[in-house]
């Protein structure tokens, strides 16, 4: 029986699968079918020649939700808020994205003002009723929404995190008039305080409900028609997964579904191969993503923004992106400086060497000119070295450098940019780069990983065996995970312990309930608690671990200590001058899955990994450099730089003065020194 991970990305749909009985594995890749992404899922299964009826578990990652959101391609939806707060999702926090751009605009509202309605009602911050819901007015709003033919509605009232009553009544009134509408309540979506995040997340749920329901229904039907009888799971933004029925109800949790698979792979490696702290990096054609993995888990943030001032407050992996990729364009700015990115030539026209009309020098052109990239991409796609050279010569002339130094310069600048992006992430989360290994994914990643690591003082780089299908591999290594939260503002001193225990028990019951829907045996379930806490007088929170089981007065000193420690780690400081308070409580429930074992490749052969030699330019010199076949690397093999390792969809560059070994999972571990 097979466990299958499928990641539908912007360009490719990737598959990775392993057979539970034999440990055999298979990978496949097809072009993403943009008109209907579900078609590509079937195509990639067919290409992998997997017997669909022998698939027990299919785990699916997809950018469908993100794309629908960013392109605003969803059926028009309505929003109902407390009077006075019709425009919260349009005003945001009144900041601008670019400090000095006089022409900038803000993203288009998720739901336009003409479809946003208000009703008289008001709750206090403590959840008491200051003004009852005006049911007459509520019915008029329902009538208006029906008249307009809007099929989904976000309901978000001020202070509803403290009391869901008015929102629930509003839903009844809407349902009476609109029996088939999708309705999202802010008190159910994420009952957390600060209106912008909760309102926006609720609006996002409302607009995605019809889109994702239709998509998953279509996919389930198509799979069933082909004979699929296993369980279908979906990758969540928090680095875990959930069953497809739940995914239809919680579509806002799918925003980072794509990249989350890669982080799961890095997390799996960190546990299996024994590096507790890893920096996950993924460099593709246009962007460079990075995130932190610790103790087998990606770090999570609650401050994610889909676009400028469009926050999603559901816990998401803290993945940061900068505009650096293989297609990044090198250019000379008005002041005469050589710059790289963030503009990218993308896939079309692409780098100059693609021969599709691109004339500007890119990172890929530089790699080709220096011999680091093989000019036929393994026979799959012939690159035009002449065009690359021409573009780089032209650029070099403008800054007074010969072509080779220009090419090396482009790579050096782009690697420094990526190194700075990593430093900002690490420092932002209070971590030191030297404690980490760098895990490199993406088509352009392993070509630059050693240079980035050197710039940061990171001693080791890992190029994973299945880097070409990282997200799909990661999908098969995932657990089911739900993060539940409830608001609870209380200074630790004098906290109502009975209430605290009651709320945790409630959250845990909710979490068990969600897992029960996935048919998991109890011995595969684990629970952990946390609290968002802050110093009184501050306005940001720090995630603090909380012990499981009944909490007593004796538990509190430990909780306070945990908070100080967490605060010191994230922010570098802690202060006994300020008393701490709880702001919200969280419970994470995990349903543990089987992880891929040491795998056998189905197409394995005992061929010699060394497949030739070519001249590669490093630090001002052409060096004879051995070239290895990444598919042929077997445990125990040792390499020395300079060397090139070519994989199906990427290649690793080992500069001089590096050494590498292949571990038992066929990962390439490079010591940068």
């Amino acid at each position: 029986m097979w466990r299958v991970g499928i990641d539908v990305g912007g360009t490719f749909t990737d598959l990775f699968a392993w057979e539970e009985e034999t440990g055999q594995s298979v990978t496949a890749k097809v072009l993403t079918t943009k008109e209907d992404r579900a078609l590509g899922v079937l195509q990639v299964i067919a290409q992998a020649r997997l017997p669909i009826e022998r698939i027990t578990t299919l785990i699916h990652g997809s950018t469908t939700a993100t794309n629908a959101l960013i392109e605003r391609s969803y059926p028009p939806a309505a929003m109902v808020t407390t009077e006075g707060f019709r425009d919260t999702i349009e005003i945001g926090r009144q900041r601008r994205q670019h400090l000095y751009d006089p022409y900038q605009t803000k993203p288009k509202p998720i739901i336009p003002r003409r479809y946003r309605f208000t009703v008289p009602e008001r709750l206090s911050a403590q959840g008491t009723v200051l003004k009852p819901l005006d049911e007459e007015a509520a019915r008029r709003v329902a009538d208006r929404i029906a008249e307009l033919g809007l099929g989904s509605v976000a309901v978000a009232f001020i202070n509803a995190y403290a009391n869901p009553l008015h929102e629930q009544r509003m839903r009844e009134i809407l349902q009476a008039r609109l029996p088939h509408a999708y309705i999202a309540l802010s008190s159910e979506t994420r009952p957390k305080f600060r209106e912008l995040g909760r309102f926006m997340t609720t609006a996002i749920r409302a607009v995605l409900l019809p889109v994702m329901s239709a998509y998953f229904d279509r996919l389930s039907t198509m799979l069933a028609e082909q004979g699929f009888r296993g369980s279908l799971f979906v990758i969540k933004s928090n680095g875990g997964m959930m069953g497809v029925e739940l995914a239809k109800q919680r579509p806002e949790e799918l925003i980072e579904s794509g990249p989350a698979g890669g982080v799961a792979y890095a997390a799996y490696l960190s546990v299996r191969a024994g590096f507790p702290r890893a920096i996950h990096t993924d460099m593709g054609g246009t962007s460079f993503d990075t995130s932190i993995v610790e103790d087998g888990r990606g770090l999570v943030t609650r401050e994610y923004e889909v676009e400028w001032e469009v926050p999603v407050i559901t816990p998401m992996l803290d993945i940061r992106s900068v505009g650096a990729g293989g297609g990044s364009i090198a250019w000379v700015d008005q002041g005469g400086a050589l710059r790289v990115g963030p503009q990218s030539a993308g896939a079309d026209p692409g780098p100059a060497c693609y021969g599709r009309g691109g004339t500007e020098a890119t990172v890929t052109d530089a790699n080709l000119l220096l011999g680091r990239l093989e000019p036929t991409l393994g026979g799959k796609f012939p690159l035009d070295r002449g065009a690359a050279e021409e573009a780089i010569v032209r650029l070099g002339r403008r800054v007074g450098l010969d072509p080779l130094r220009t090419a090396e310069g482009i790579l050096r600048i782009t690697c420094e940019n990526m190194a700075q992006a990593i430093k900002m992430v690490l420092i932002d989360r209070g971590r030191d780069p030297r404690d980490f290994v760098l895990v490199s994914f993406g088509g352009a990643g392993p070509m630059h990983a050693c240079f980035i690591a050197r710039a940061l003082g990171i001693p080791r780089v890992v190029v994973p065996a299945y880097a070409g299908v990282a997200s799909a591999f990661g999908a098969t290594a995932m657990d089911i995970r739900h993060d539940l939260e409830t608001f609870f503002y209380a200074p630790v001193a004098g906290v109502d312990l009975a209430r605290l225990n009651y709320l945790y028990e409630q959250l845990e019951a909710q979490g068990r309930g969600l897992l029960a829907q996935e048919d998991l045996p109890p011995d595969r379930i684990s629970l952990s608690r946390s609290a968002q806490m802050r110093y009184i007088g501050q306005s940001y929170e720090v995630e603090t671990p909380i012990p499981v089981g009944p909490l007593t007065a004796a538990s509190l000193p430990q909780i306070v200590q945990n908070f100080h420690d967490a605060h010191r780690r994230e922010y570098g400081v802690a202060s006994a001058q300020f008393a701490p308070a709880f702001v919200s409580l969280g419970v994470t429930v995990i349903g543990h899955n089987d992880k891929p074992p040491i795998l056998q490749r189905t197409a394995a052969s005992a061929r010699d990994p060394r497949k030739g030699e070519r001249r590669v330019y490093f630090a001002g010199h052409w060096l004879d450099t051995p070239v290895y076949d990444g598919q042929g690397l077997r445990p125990g093999l040792a390499l020395r730089g300079p060397a090139i390792v070519e994989y199906a969809h990427s290649c690793a560059v080992l500069p001089p003065d590096t050494a590498a070994a292949v571990d038992e999972w066929e990962n390439l571990i490079i010591t940068v020194g």
């Binding site: 009077e83 006075g84 707060f85 019709r86 425009d87 919260t88 349009e90 005003i91 926090r93 009144q94 900041r95 601008r96 400090l99 000095y100 751009d101 006089p102 022409y103 605009t105 803000k106 336009p112 003002r113 911050a125 200051l130 001020i158 202070n159 305080f193 600060r194 209106e195 912008l196 700015d333 008005q334 002041g335 005469g336 400086a337 050589l338 710059r339 800054v399 450098l401 130094r405 310069g409 050096r412 600048i413 420094e416 940019n417 700075q420 430093k423 900002m424 420092i427 503002y489 110093y535 007088g537 501050q538 306005s539 940001y540 994230e570 922010y571 570098g572 400081v573 001058q577 300020f578």
Partner: protein, 626 residues
């Protein structure tokens, strides 16, 4: 006086372009990292939440290398701080680990609450440069919380520190520390915030020393010179693209709290080749109230205002100062001297300087300039007593207004003015922590200047106080709204209103219903429990003739209720049926033709929005008496 920063030469760089780019981006990164550390480790909300701070690095000759002006109003001012520091102590006497603190508005500062820390950076015993960190501190004493005493003497605004050594060899001077701690209403923030500033300075020190280690000291010094020359080249190119000439602009503050007359800025931009002179001759003399701007603040306003249109992508460094000279009359409210109070200079005065300069630019580069913004900070501070315990809470908020229309589209609605980039206070945070109910924070329809590209909208903020409250606020744009450019309209005025328990409205700042104008500067204005404060901010000015606005976009604005059906007809000449909400194409065509004809005949310049009774709910917006 020019902030002459300049160039040994404007020749092509002699550093290889790759090393140059690596170090250029390292200088930028160094400042970004300073700000990241300051924001993350500070304890006072105004720093970590409102991001009212900036960080910068300088070369050994005190030329700005790079800056994260999280607050643009700090842009040039920090250079004055660094120079005041070396002037007082002499470069020779400074040692590794020294940190000089100051906030004196007349000796390198701007207003009392902006406190600046300067640290020399050494490499192997030789001075390599300076790091400077500036933040707005919540309170440094004075006659009212946050220095907002609105008095007539600087002494009322808090503790005034000349350049003083806070640290010697990395050790804090305990005497000075205790003086500062003793002179604030928020002593609990002092230690944490000082440590945060020092952390930012140490980060810059470490980055520059590491760079000198890795690339060589001389290479780093060379890169410092070249990065400044690089910005100067870009700035000169941008100035050269403006036609030579003298361009005048004007704006004003409504009052300084004492004056019934506006306080005026008159500015001339004199463009000659690739240089520009900004001349404030003719602006009003120093005033009694707290809106005087010290030279450092005025310079900041000049440079950040121009940066929007003079190559915003060039790194903010000393290179942009050299080709731009500033002329300030000796007795001028934009050149404050002891003992003039200055607390409002950053939040109020700088935005008026921007507006005057953008109106001057509109004459120079009409096709590139945008219309002025609401040009305010609208910053208010509230002290509210808890109705049960009697405990006093103090909080502040700054409801933004709209930006002006641009050559490419409409301005942004409810966005912090160019001078800063602070966030508002969420209603749910306010209600959780303070005895208030935020009853509304929403767009204010018909609040934008009309235009082919209209301004962004202003907001309507309404707060109900549950206990006795005192509110202090200084604002403007209550006499007239934001001006338009290229034929665009003016926005309606801002207004401050008190609503009592029975719903009766009283204008407490701006135009009243019966045509009186009331001073828009409130010092500790009292509200009884149950009373409400309503503030209506204004939108940005319009860009281009509203009669040329695309009819479909006017209809969209009506459907989204950004504008009323009346405004669509009266101001945009678009007739929309109130029942079907469809455009009457024929009537629109006729109306627009007639109105354009009138315009051409000079019979009626377009009716300013400010003169229109536009919104039935919020009453008539008053015309401005001549």
């Amino acid at each position: 006086m020019a902030l002459s920063a300049m160039p040994d030469s404007l020749q092509q760089p002699t550093l290889d372009p790759v090393t140059f780019e690596v170090l250029r981006s390292l200088f930028e990164y160094t400042c970004a990292r300073m700000s990241q550390i300051l924001q993350k480790t500070s304890f006072s909300p105004i720093l970590y939440d409102m991001v009212d701070f900036s960080n910068a690095i300088y070369d050994a000759e005190l030329r700005l290398l790079g800056q994260t002006a999280n607050c643009p109003v700090h842009l040039a001012a920090m250079q004055f701080s660094a120079r005041a520091t070396t002037k007082r102590f002499g470069v020779q006497s400074l040692q590794e680990g020294d940190v000089i603190v100051l906030n004196d508005p007349y000796e390198g500062g701007t207003h009392i609450n902006d406190i600046t820390f300067t640290m020399p950076i050494f490499f192997r015993g030789r001075l390599l440069g300076f790091a400077v960190s500036r933040g707005h501190w919540t309170d440094l004493g004075g006659g009212a919380a946050g220095g907002q005493a609105f008095g007539t003497h600087i002494a009322a605004e808090g503790l005034r520190l000349p350049p003083l050594k806070l640290c010697e060899r990395y050790t804090i001077n305990d005497d000075l520390f205790r003086i500062i701690t003793n002179n604030t209403r928020t002593p609990q923030y002092v230690e944490g915030d000082i440590q945060a500033h020092l952390g930012a300075l140490r980060a810059a020190e470490a980055e520059l020393q590491r760079a000198a280690e890795r690339y060589g000291e001389e290479t780093v010094r060379l890169a410092m010179r070249e990065v400044i020359a690089y910005t100067e080249r870009m700035t000169r190119q941008a100035i050269a693209a403006i036609p030579d000439g003298i361009y005048e602009g004007e704006d004003y503050a409504d009052t300084d709290g004492f004056s019934d007359d506006p306080i005026r800025i008159r500015v001339k931009l004199i463009v000659t080749g690739d240089e520009m002179t900004v001349d404030f001759t003719g602006s009003d003399p120093m005033v009694t109230g707290a809106i005087n701007s010290p030279m450092a603040n005025t310079y900041s306003a000049v440079y950040y205002s121009l940066k929007f249109f003079l190559n915003p992508d060039a790194p903010a460094n000393g290179g942009m100062f050299a080709p731009i000279k500033v002329i300030l009359p000796d007795d001028c409210w934009l050149n404050a001297k002891w003992p003039a109070p200055t607390i409002g200079c950053t939040t109020l005065t700088s935005s008026k300087i921007t507006s005057a300069m953008w109106q001057a630019l509109a004459k120079a580069i009409p096709q590139r300039v945008t219309a002025p913004t609401f040009a305010e900070c609208n910053w208010f501070v509230c002290a509210v007593k808890d109705p049960r315990g009697g405990q006093l809470s103090v909080f502040s908020d700054l409801p933004a207004g709209g930006w002006g229309g641009t050559p490419y589209g409409d301005g942004m609605s409810v966005t912090m003015d160019p001078l800063g980039n602070c966030m508002n206070l969420p209603a749910e945070t306010a209600e959780l922590l303070f005895p208030v109910v935020y009853e509304a924070f929403e767009l204010r329809p018909d609040s934008a200047g009309a235009g082919k590209h209209r301004g962004g909208l202003g907001a309507r903020l309404q707060i109900r106080f549950l206990g006795e409250a005192e509110l202090s606020m200084e604002t403007a744009r209550t006499r007239e709204g934001s001006p338009g450019v290229n034929g665009g309209g003016r926005s309606p005025v801002q207004r401050l209103t008190k609503i009592d328990g029975s719903g009766t409205r009283e204008t407490i700042g701006g135009w009243t219903e019966d045509g009186q104008w009331k001073k828009c500067l409130l010092a500790a204005y009292r509200f009884a429990p149950g009373e409400r404060f309503l503030f209506e901010s204004t939108g940005g000015g319009g860009w281009g003739n509203p009669l040329e606005r695309d009819v479909a976009r006017v209809l969209d604005d009506v459907l989204d209720e950004y504008i009323s059906i009346e405004a669509a007809r009266e101001v945009y000449g678009v007739v929309v049926d109130p029942v079907t909400l469809k455009v009457d194409a024929e009537a629109t065509q006729a109306l627009r033709t007639e109105r354009l004809q009138k315009d051409a005949n000079g019979l009626a310049q377009q009716t300013p929005l400010a003169a229109q009774p536009l919104h039935p709910v919020w009453g008539q917006v008053q015309a401005v008496p001549e």
